[in-house]
C-alpha cells in the first residue's frame, strides 16, 4: 500500500498498454524500438517481482508461531 516503487498492478497495466500500442503499429520504428525496450524492461521487472518469493510475514501483536517463520 505504501510502496515507494510502482506496484505490480501499475507495472502490469503499463505493460499491457505498451503492448497494445506496439501492436497498433502506428509509431515510427524508433518510437517502437524505444517502447519495446521499455516494455521488456518492465516485463523483466514484473518477472523478478513475481520471483522474489521470500515470505514477508509480520505479526501485529505477539510473536509469530515458530512454524511460520
Amino acid at each position: 500500500m505504501k510502496e515507494e516503487e510502482t506496484s505490480l498492478e501499475e507495472a502490469l497495466d503499463d505493460l499491457e498498454q505498451i503492448v497494445e500500442l506496439l501492436e497498433e503499429g502506428k509509431m515510427s520504428l524508433e518510437e517502437s524500438l524505444e517502447l519495446y525496450e521499455k516494455g521488456m524492461k518492465l516485463a523483466g521487472l514484473c518477472q523478478s517481482r513475481l520471483e522474489s518469493a521470500e515470505k514477508r510475514i509480520e505479526c501485529l501483536t505477539g510473536e509469530l508461531p515458530p512454524d511460520l517463520i
Partner: protein, 331 residues
Amino acid sequence: MSDGKNVLVYGDISVYRPQGRVQLVARGIKQDEGLGFRHLQLEALKERLAAEGLFAPERKRALPRYPESIGIVTSPQGAALRDVLRTLGSYPARIVLSPAMVQGEGAEKSIAAALLALRGRSDLIIVCRGGGSTEDLWCFNSEIVARAIFACDAPVISAVGHETDVTVADYVADARAATPTAAAKMAVPDLEELEEALRYTKVRMMRALWTCLERAEDRLDHMQRALAARRMYALARDSRQRLDYLSQRLDGAQAGRLDRHRSRLELLAGRLGAVGPRATLLRGYAIARSGKSLIIKAADVLPGEEIELVLGRGSLLCRVLECRENEEVLL
C-alpha cells in the same frame, strides 16, 4: 428435564378472561442450548444490519487484482492460517497477521479489534477460521464483528467454517469464501498463470516489433526501388543526350573527311595521270599488243598476225607485213 434448562415449547396460548389468566397449552417441548433464542436474536440482527445497508451488494468493494499487502485475521495457532499461507504460496505480497481469538469468551471483541488494527496496513483482508460447531462459529454472527468488517478500509474476504456455514460476517464481507483455502485462492492471482501471461506479453512485444521492422523494411525496399527507377530514367536521359551529341559530331566529322578524301582523290588522280602511260601516248607514242600481252620485240609476232596499236586517243587493228628483227630504229 431439570430446572434451569432452556427449552423450546410449541403450543397454543389462550386467555381466560374471568380470571385474567393466560394459558399455554404445550403440544411439544424440546431441550435447547439457548440456540433458539440466539437464532431469533440473529435473525433480528440480520434484519437490522440489512436495513442499515450493511449487506447491500452495491456497497461491496472489488478485490484488488494484485494485492501488495494482505491482512489476515485469525488464530495464529489455527489450521486456517496455515491453509491460507500455503495457498498464497510464493505470491509476492506482504502478509500482515493480526492475531485474534476465534472462539470462546471474548472472541468477538478480539476479532473486531484485530480487524481494526489492520487499518492502513493492507489492501486486502482475509478473516477466517476453520470448521467447528455452530457454537464455535457463533462469534462471527456478532454485531461488533459485523460492524468491524464494515469499517475496514480494505476489502474483506470472509471464510468461516465450511461450505454450509454462513455467518453474519459472510454477509457483511465484500466477498465470501467457502473455506480459508478458497479465500486465499480468491485473494491472489495464480502465479503460474501470471508468469505465463508475462511470457506471452514478451512474445507479443517481439512480434509487434518484428512486424514494425518488416513494415519499415518494406518501405525502404519500395523507396529503394523507386529511387533506382528514377536513377535509371536519369541515366537513360543522359545517355541519350550524349548519344545525340556524339552522332552530331560524327556526322560533322564524316562530312569533313569525305571532302578531304575527295580533294585528295583528285590530287592523286592528277599525279597518277602524270606518271601513267596515257600522257606518253598523247605525246605520240603507241603501245603494241597482241591479245593481252605487250609486243616488245619484232620477234614477238609473226608476219600476217593481227596486232593492236593503242594510241593517245583510240586504237588501230593492224596486220603485220614483215618482222625486221635486226633493224635499229632511230627515234
